[in-house]
Amino acid sequence: MPNPIQPNLVLRVAGKMLIPIILMFALYVQFHGETGPGGGFQAGVIFTSAFILYALVFGIGPARAVATDRVLRVLAAFGVLLYIGVGIASLLSGGNFLDYDVLGENAIEGQHLGIFLIELGVGFTVASVMIIIFFAFAERGARP
């Protein structure tokens, strides 16, 4: 396992302060995607950047304790399934694929719900795939 950066007080304190804020910002971008700039893709990447910062400062070991291969794989697949699931739900409700209008009681509510779920799916998959890519590079040579 590669060593983390030498324990550096400034990095550790600054990291601890920044990481929760970055995570909060990611969630903000995620949930305001339909009204402001942003959305699932951007949110996923911002979320991952907090994760990478953590792994750089505190080491890969502790980061891995949260994000095992299995968890990441399930989350990545879940995001795509959520996306397709919304599409299939609209098929089953009598609309065309990804026609959000039929998902809610009226068209506006349906559009809100549809885009919210779609973006959530994108966010899950982008964040977990980005973390997988980060680990794939960070752990090179460390695993057989």
């Binding site: 794989r73 990545a76 399934l81 397709i84 599409g87 098929l91 694929f97």
Partner: protein, 494 residues
């Protein structure tokens, strides 16, 4: 009700299977899912072809947005035909894959392999089914990125550089296509194919449209591996796992060829492509060059997989040659060869996959005398080879017949002679394999494990071989559909 949604189901069935493979992460289950999804996709494709033949064009609006604004999926005879062959080949190869993949790919990567395979299939089907040029680009990238992965997943480390090379050229091709789509959009303000075809004549002769045309032709030619842009292909096919070589060789270039037809005929129109931009001359020269460069290079290969790869380059030449005539017969020949070559190459690569399964290599001196030890495999290879040459009663004959016919119709006797001469080159390289397998003295193999391969590999191979013979004798499906599709592309029928 469900029949209304068939165009989208065609794409989302494999798309749904991919994350399921990842989620379950089990070798056997992911194989089952892929087989099931591919089978369903084949069924959908057959239904779509049936519908288009009887009721005409099917249009589907994604998300309920009307056509020029939203994404439209549009199935006519041409793409229904391509969908059918892609899904048929995919289903056959999945059956074959179970044993072959277990041998050629690290065990822990096998579920990933099936997930990526499904994404690749989804990308190909998406490219074929869509009626929106940007959507086409996105699906093209899905299929391209998954094909890079499929090649790199091999245990052979040389596959990594081959995949990297392919990634480089593939990305350049994709960028060119995207630039072209951007230019077309800037001129017309639309991405819908139908709408583009309507608006483009008004701005014809414009430099922007002409450069869009140039970018598009070069971009697709890279994806298609048309000589002289074929350099990524031999390594990619040689070092990929056998199943992947078979699948990519028989579908990816075919779908790229479909994209070429779709853009040149349905979007840009015959007038622009063939009258003001002189595509005929370019494609005639490049097609003949591809046929001779590919066939000649194939003769000198010691690795049979590489030999088949070069042969694929030559076959792409035949298809492009068919397009260059821009006549119904020429296009019929091109479409027939698209279908037939998919059958031929899949069969040959699967037979080769059987050899690889036993010997772990596909070099010419490995197979000395194996005709006696693996009679079924080698007989399959020989019949596939005959079909590639174009011997009567095989599919190869049908497409070459139409191609020669088209050349004669256009009054190009030299081209017709060249097609026949190139068949002789095919005889030479197929004969080298036949000679090695049946007439050379076997090398004493250190392993006794050299019998016939498992039935689950022989059956799909033979299914394709029988298809090669069947469609060479009963041509009611192919010769029934291809001329209609050709007329549709040229805008002759209503």
């Amino acid at each position: 009700m469900i029949s209304h949604h068939l165009p989208i189901l065609q794409v989302i069935v494999p798309l749904l299977a991919a994350p399921l493979c990842l989620l379950l992460y089990d070798r056997f289950l992911s194989w089952c899912i892929s087989l099931f999804a591919s089978g369903i996709a084949f069924l959908i494709a057959a239904l779509l072809l049936h519908q288009t033949l009887h009721t005409g064009v099917i249009s589907y609006e994604l998300g309920g947005w009307a056509a020029p604004w939203g994404i439209e999926y549009r199935v006519d005879i041409v793409n229904a035909f391509v969908l059918l062959i892609v899904t048929a080949i995919s289903s056959t190869i999945i059956v074959f894959a179970k044993e072959s993949v277990a041998q050629e790919i690290y065990a822990e990567r096998i579920p990933l392999f099936y997930a990526v395979y499904m994404l690749f299939l989804c990308g190909l089907l998406g490219v074929t089914v869509t009626g929106d040029v940007f959507n086409l680009f996105v699906f093209m990238e899905i299929s391209a990125l998954s094909s890079y992965t499929l090649i790199a997943i091999s245990e052979d480390r040389r596959a990594l550089t081959a995949s990297y090379q392919y990634l480089f050229l593939g990305t350049i091709g994709a960028s060119f296509i995207l630039i072209s789509i951007g230019l077309l959009y800037s001129m017309t303000g639309t991405l819908n194919m139908q709408d583009l075809a309507r608006r483009l004549p008004a701005v014809s002769g414009n430099r922007t449209v002409e450069s869009a045309f140039a970018f598009l032709t070069v971009g697709i030619s890279i994806k298609l591996a048309l000589v002289p842009l074929h350099l990524w292909l031999p390594n990619a096919y040689t070092y990929a796992p056998s199943v992947v070589s078979a699948f990519i060789a028989s579908t990816a270039t075919k779908v790229a060829f479909y994209v070429l037809l779709r853009f040149m005929f349905s979007v840009l129109g015959v007038t622009l492509s063939f009258q003001s931009m002189l595509l005929s001359g370019i494609f005639l020269a490049l097609g003949i060059a591809a046929i001779f460069v590919g066939s000649t290079a194939a003769i000198f290969q010691d690795n049979i997989k590489r030999m088949l790869a070069y042969s694929s380059i030559a076959q792409i030449g035949y298809m492009v040659l068919g397009v260059s005539f821009a006549t119904v017969t020429g296009l019929t020949a091109a479409l027939l060869h698209l279908f037939n070559h998919a059958l031929i190459k899949a069969a040959l690569f699967l037979a080769l996959g059987c050899i690889f399964y036993r010997f772990g290599s596909a070099s010419m001196n490995q197979i000395y005398g194996i005709g006696r030890r693996m009679p079924w495999t080698m007989t399959a290879f020989v019949i596939g080879g005959l079909s590639l040459i174009g011997v009567p009663l095989t599919v190869g004959f049908i497409s070459k017949w139409y191609l020669v016919l088209a050349a004669m119709e256009a009054g190009m006797w030299l081209v017709a002679a060249a097609i026949l001469a190139a068949s002789l080159l095919t005889v030479v390289y197929i004969w080298r394999v036949v000679e090695a397998a049946w007439f050379k003295v076997p090398v004493q193999s250190p392993t006794a494990n050299t019998g016939e391969v498992p039935l689950s590999m022989l059956l799909p191979t033979w299914a394709l071989i029988i298809a090669n013979r069947y469609f060479g004798i009963d041509t009611s499906l192919t010769v029934g559909v291809a001329p209609q599709a050709a007329e549709w592309l040229l805008g002759i029928t209503g």
